[in-house]
Structure formats: structure tokens, C-alpha cells
């Protein structure tokens, strides 16, 4: 079963093509990494899936409904690149507000906080947390509703290697143990090796859609960084 089915998606913004004829299918219960240089369209693609980005043409189906369908608001957890949480509330209060939207309470909020390894910071004001901790509060707000689809825009930015590893372990567990579908954007390729599928975006084009191992085979590269560089320099990008 597919969680996301995108056909011939085009997004133009002020005359510029941001996403150019994207075709893409993501199976339910998989962990997909969306990788590409800054400005390649990663955030726009995630915003299309969450339904906040107006599209120019094409069809986008999410969990069997057109993207942006009101019923999907209960099924999707979304984090933006800049943590969108209230700095003047505690970590727990932020998560409880999102929990309330899904009919969940304090216990669910505490559980989400524990899953991002911030249990001891529950009563700390967000403005007194570090950048990486704020990002994780934002992530916990997305997790707390137990959504079927998680769309995470650069959730590991500014985190140390240990935390990155732990979060990717959390993402894998969400996908493989709870059957949640995850699309996680990142510009760090090293992280992407830990996912089921890799999507490479460059200047609005999907230049690769493969498993990490498949990508290495196809490019003959020694590691993902090389594979990415090969693809980016080889790809013909129409003007």
C-alpha cells in the first residue's frame, strides 16, 4: 500500500519552477530520507504533502486522499525547519497543546517528551533550552498525536552525533515497529544511510529514488557522499 503517491507534480513560485514534474510513491511503514542541497525544493515538497503549498499541476495523494484534505490533519505530524513552538511556554505545555488537538492528555505528552529524550526538561521554558532541544520539543509536538504519517523538515539540524543517531533510531522504530510512514529531509548524507529509501532532489528535479545500497551500486561510488556528488554533477538540469 502506498502512503504517498505523487504524479507529475509541478510547483511554480513567482514564475520560477520550484518542483519540476515529480513522480514518486512512498510505501506505508517506510522511512524515507529526502536529501538535496539547500534550495533544491525539499521544504516545498514537504509543504505540498502537508497541504500548505499551492501546486501548479499534477496530483498528490496522501494516505488515499488528496493532499490538504481536512481529514488528513488528524493523520499527519509535521515539523518545520525552524522549530515552531512557543518560546514562552514550558516544553511540556507546548506538547500538551498539540496533544489536546488529538484528544490526548498529559500522559501522552510526557511519553512524547521521553521519546525525544527530554523527560527531565518538561518544566523548562522553551526559551531557556538549547537550539537542539527546541527542535526536539517541536518534534515531540508532531509525535504526540501518534500520526500515521510524519513529515519532518531537517529535524536533526544542530544536533550532536549521538543525538542524531538516537533520533534516526527513533525514526526507524516509528516506521518498523509502529507502521508509521516517515519522510525526513536532511542535507547530511551520512544520516540518510540509515533509511529505507533515499530521494535526491536537485534544483527541483528528483534525480534519484533508490535504497542506499542501490544508489551505491548504480553509481559505483564508494560512499553516499561520492554517489551524491556523481549524481549532482552528472544530472542535466534544463534551464
Amino acid at each position: 500500500m502506498t502512503a504517498i503517491d505523487i504524479r507529475q507534480l509541478v510547483v511554480r513560485r513567482r514564475g520560477n519552477i520550484v518542483l519540476d514534474h515529480i513522480d514518486l510513491a512512498v510505501p506505508v511503514g517506510s522511512l524515507t530520507a529526502l536529501v538535496g542541497p539547500s534550495g533544491s525544493g525539499k521544504t516545498t515538497l514537504l509543504r505540498v504533502l502537508v497541504g500548505t503549498q499551492r501546486i501548479t499541476s499534477g496530483t498528490v495523494a496522501v494516505l488515499g486522499r488528496p493532499a490538504g484534505h481536512p481529514a488528513l490533519r488528524r493523520e499527519i505530524g509535521y515539523t518545520t525547519q525552524v522549530a515552531s513552538v512557543y518560546a514562552d511556554l514550558t516544553a511540556l505545555a507546548n506538547i500538551r497543546y498539540h496533544a489536546a488537538m488529538h484528544g490526548a492528555g498529559r500522559a501522552a505528552a510526557l511519553d512524547a517528551l521521553a521519546r525525544v529524550d527530554l523527560a527531565e526538561y518538561a518544566d523548562r521554558l522553551v526559551r531557556n533550552l538549547s537550539g537542539g532541544q527546541v527542535n526536539r520539543v517541536s518534534l515531540a509536538c508532531a509525535l504526540v498525536g501518534r500520526p500515521r504519517l510524519l513529515l519532518l523538515d531537517e529535524p536533526t539540524v544542530g544536533l550532536d552525533p549521538v543525538l542524531r543517531r538516537d533520533l534516526w533510531a527513533l525514526f526507524r522504530a516509528e516506521a518498523h515497529e509502529h507502521g508509521t510512514t516517515l519522510v525526513v529531509s536532511s542535507h547530511v548524507l551520512d544520516e540518510a544511510a540509515r533509511c529505507d529509501r533515499l530521494l535526491l532532489l536537485r534544483a527541483g528535479h528528483l534525480i534519484a529514488d533508490d535504497t542506499p545500497a542501490g544508489l551505491l551500486d548504480a553509481t559505483g561510488a564508494a560512499d553516499l557522499d561520492d554517489a551524491f556528488l556523481n549524481l549532482v554533477t552528472d544530472a542535466e538540469v534544463p534551464a
Binding site: 500548505t52 514562552d88 511556554l89 521554558l125
Partner: protein, 245 residues
């Protein structure tokens, strides 16, 4: 719309406010201090205070809630929290009413403080009904909140939001009949002032202050303020966009 989400939003806004004691102090203390200052300025003419204090009690809630809400909402828009909220099951009406409820509650406390100081400490003559006076103050505050929500869509930054205060509130203040009776203004201004909601708040307060019973005109004034608040909330909610280009 979902009452549970409306309440959750009001609770969240109040929790944010609770973390900001300086704002609470300013909102509650400033009107009282200004009323006292007003009385002292006109110490030689005590009648002026009796005449103008009720209108001031109508003006403070509109002014302060407009300012607080427009800045809070610009913050929601620029901080990305609004876009995120609109991807959740939260309805637009839940958000608008949540803000209205939270700041309406603050306005009630402010109205109690300001009218309490005016009546008990500053010797303002008892109005026909203190509860109706508070009701007008709260309706006026919800109106200020609703106008602030709407204006926040036009302001890209908090800096701009503050600039809207003279644009939206000052003309209402001048035309409300507070400075001079509307009947003595240029004829065309009377027509303009009729579409300014603050006029009705000032009119209602004045009628309460100068009578011993609550006249039907006061209820009409209250109805106009409440109606304007609802219209402003509805118009304001159309500025909340779930999709953008």
C-alpha cells in the same frame, strides 16, 4: 469548531500570558494610574473627571487588547506556529475564539481593576449598573482583540503592528465623542463616527454613568459592539490561510 480545542487554545494563550508578569502588570495597573492622573490634571474641575472617566473606561480595553493581540498574532505568523497550527485539527474559529476568550478574561480583570479604582478610590459617581459597565468593557476588549487579529494579517513585523495603533484606534478615539460631543463635529464626521464601534462603547458608558436605570439604548450600544466584534472575528479568520503560494 470544537469547544475542547477553543478552550485548549485559550488556556495556552493564558499560560503564555502568565509567563509575562510585566505585561499583566502594565495591562492592569496602567489604566488605573492614567485614571488617577486624569483626576489630578483636572483637580480644579472635578466635573470633567465625572464626565470623561466613563468614556476612558470604554477606551482602555479596546486600546490595550488591540495592541496585545496584534503583536501576539504577528508573532504567531512570523514564528511559523500559525502555519503549523493550521496543519492540525485546530479550526480557524477555535483559534480566533480561543484568543477572544483569553483576552476577554484578561479584560474582565482589567475592567474590575479600573472601574474599582475609579469608583472606590477616585470617587466616580456610581453608574446605573456596575455589571453592565463591565459587560461593555469586556465586549469592547473582545472587539479590540478581533481588530488586532485582523490587522496582524496586514503587518509583516511586530514593529509594523504597533504602527497600526494610531491608524485604527486614534480616529475612533477622536470621533467617539470622548473629546467633544459628536453633534458638534463637522456634519460629515457624525456619519463617519456612526460606523466606529468605539462611539457606541463611549455612548453606552456615558448613558450608564448619567442615569439611574439601564436604558434600552445602552443595550443597543452593547449589541452594536458585540456585533462589530463578531464581524471583525469573522473577517479576521479569513486572513488565516491554510495554503500559500
Amino acid at each position: 469548531m470544537n469547544p475542547r480545542l477553543t478552550i485548549a487554545t485559550a488556556g495556552r494563550v493564558l499560560a503564555q500570558l502568565r509567563r509575562d508578569p510585566r505585561t499583566i502588570a502594565l495591562v492592569l495597573v496602567m489604566p488605573c494610574v492614567l485614571l488617577w492622573l486624569f483626576k489630578e490634571v483636572f483637580s480644579a474641575e472635578p466635573l470633567v473627571f465625572q464626565q470623561l472617566a466613563p468614556a476612558l473606561l470604554a477606551t482602555f480595553p479596546l486600546l490595550i487588547m488591540f495592541l496585545v493581540t496584534s503583536v501576539a498574532m504577528v508573532r504567531e505568523r512570523s514564528g511559523g506556529t500559525l502555519e503549523r497550527l493550521l496543519t492540525t485539527p485546530l479550526g480557524k474559529a477555535d483559534l480566533m475564539l480561543g484568543y477572544g476568550l483569553a483576552f476577554g478574561a484578561l479584560a474582565l480583570v482589567q475592567g474590575l481593576a479600573a472601574s474599582g479604582v475609579a469608583l472606590v478610590l477616585l470617587g466616580l459617581d456610581r453608574p446605573a449598573s456596575v455589571p453592565v459597565l463591565l459587560l461593555i468593557a469586556v465586549a469592547d476588549a473582545v472587539l479590540g482583540t478581533a481588530l488586532g487579529l485582523g490587522v496582524s494579517a496586514l503587518a509583516a513585523t511586530e514593529f509594523q503592528a504597533v504602527q497600526f495603533l494610531p491608524a485604527v484606534i486614534l480616529p475612533q478615539f477622536l470621533l467617539s465623542g470622548l473629546i467633544t460631543p459628536t453633534s458638534s463635529m463637522a456634519g460629515w464626521l457624525d456619519g463617519v463616527s456612526r460606523v466606529m464601534p468605539l462611539r457606541y462603547a463611549v455612548d453606552g458608558m456615558n448613558r450608564l454613568a448619567r442615569a439611574t436605570t439601564v436604558s434600552s439604548t445602552v443595550w443597543w450600544d452593547l449589541g452594536v459592539i458585540a456585533g462589530c466584534a463578531v464581524i471583525a472575528l469573522v473577517v479576521g479568520s479569513t486572513t488565516l490561510r491554510r495554503t500559500t503560494a
